[in-house]
Subunit: 310 residues, 2 copies
């Protein structure tokens, strides 16, 4: 139940990080793009094929040292349904390789419709008496603006199927404070209020490491809030975006963890996918460069989160 | 620019309503399902094929009397990428038939990722020097929890491409008040604050009818807030869900409109898609029943929004 499977993998690998798979076509080395276009065409179908080959090689390169991947739905949807097919194949392949898969879709809706999203990403859909997984992910990011109705269908499936969700609490972007930092009439900020809602939504799904199935997204770019939220939300597991390319450093990120070195997973997308560009190595070695960046990131973060270091 | 195209179609049809295409497989008559399963299989692919035939017949039945359709992404995503392909085909077909297409996806993310969603739904994606539309919709629903960064990429494309967005302000579900009705320290509620942000985000996209490209979702189930928001947000066009099946009546819904009968479009999904069940007619006449329900709804709403009545 809850994030126990993810936490067990983090302990096993000694690595509290997740590779974000947000594959812009510009990130894909030319030799992969050309081959993919020749196979499927110089269009959305060919582009989606290029993303698939890129993702597959990245997963192969890091699956033994990184516990999880986080495909960002937007970067697949921009290639239309062909892109969404690549999202499906990426999830399927990462799971085959033993990785925990978090779909970053920030989905949200009223209860009946949220059931449909739940079926799509974490549960299954019935067709003529049989059930099929639409995407079959392990966790999904969601937006809690609609309140409990929009969360309850997810927590029900998380309990049954050993899956989890991450609710947006304090996001990593510059303008996140415009709404999230505003103070309510009880003196609490909106993000604190959303954090409290996460603790409450997750209350009856607490697993063996002390964390519930309802996690929170808290950006690495706001280390003070990370520390504050870690102290206030003892059962809420954090997904921390914004490390690296967006500006969050390891020392700040370390504030998201508890004294056992648990309680959070830190995402890096561009720095891993584009490591070959930064390194200046042969683009054919892009997957090797991604692996080296994952090791560097693991060492950087565990140098502050020492309880987890193997 | 802005919602001018939609408003022109509303005036032309004398009908301020939109048909929500949220096609659960249970809503699809057996004769369509059986044929679709025989063609493509008793699985997600066959189910997606059934939804496609159902949607196509509904669009054919109402496209001359209803200005717009609103496919809800969740009900396609639950059938995996096959379902998303049906979403694409549905959008394409409704546009061919002259309808304005609002994708109800409630998307939200930080700026760079929101650009990807913008490309996916309202703009286009470049592949090898050519551009392609991922989904090619006319408008998209979005969630503003992340602030301006997450909205700016959309408004840029709305200005260039004559498209629009609807930001969640006050949603139609029971628990919408848990966060949205909370008061900030300046005495305003969160939904009022989000409404003010809509006016501000839309300020330089105001079209010839006085409405901007940044609309708001305000539920029919809260008529008092509809009236309040209509008065306070003079340039914000409303998408009003919750009429009919969710409990909102025409008299309440009428509060969303200005004195010219403009300023809002009211959604109905289940009551239209399942009209044949409620009527008890031959399921083969499901599309005819949907048309009759659309006419009933138009008459019901324009009996209160008399300025628009033809």
């Amino acid at each position: 139940m809850s994030f126990d499977r993810l936490i067990a993998k983090i302990i096993e690998t000694g690595n509290p990080t997740v590779v974000g798979l947000d594959p812009k076509l510009d990130y894909v080395p030319d030799f992969i793009k050309e081959k993919a276009f020749e196979e499927k065409g110089r269009d959305l179908k060919g582009a989606a094929n290029a993303l698939w080959h890129f993702n597959k090689a990245l997963i192969d390169a890091v699956c033994d040292i990184v516990p999880a991947v986080k495909p960002q739905a937007a970067y697949y949807e921009m290639y239309g349904w062909h892109g969404v097919k690549t999202l499906y194949k990426t999830i399927e392949y990462a799971k085959e390789k033993g990785m925990f898969v978090i779909v970053d879709g920030k989905r949200n809706d009223i209860g009946a419709t949220m059931e449909a999203y739940t079926n799509a990403y974490l549960g299954s859909t019935a067709v003529d008496g049989k059930t099929f997984e639409g995407f079959g992910a392990d966790a999904l990011t969601v937006n809690g603006y609609l309140g409990t109705d929009g969360i309850a269908p997810l927590t029900a499936v998380c309990k049954e199927n050993d899956k989890g969700i991450f609710v947006l609490v304090k996001t990593s972007n510059k303008s996140s404070g415009e709404l999230q930092d505003r103070k309510l009439d009880d003196g609490k900020t909106i993000y604190e209020t959303m954090g409290d809602m996460c603790e409450s939504w997750g209350a009856d799904t607490i697993g063996k490491y002390g964390y519930s199935a309802v996690g929170a997204v808290v950006g690495a770019t706001y280390p003070e809030q990370l520390a504050e939220m870690r102290a206030k939300l003892p059962h809420t597991f954090f997904l921390v975006p914004g490390y690296g390319a967006q500006g969050g450093g390891a020392e700040g990120v370390a504030k998201a963890f508890d004294e056992k070195g648990l309680g959070a997973i830190v995402n890096s997308s561009r720095a891993v996918m584009c490591a070959y560009q930064k390194e200046g190595c042969d683009p054919k070695d892009f997957a090797g460069a991604a692996r080296r960046e994952c090791i560097r990131m693991r060492e950087d973060i565990t140098s502050f989160v020492t309880a987890l270091k193997k």
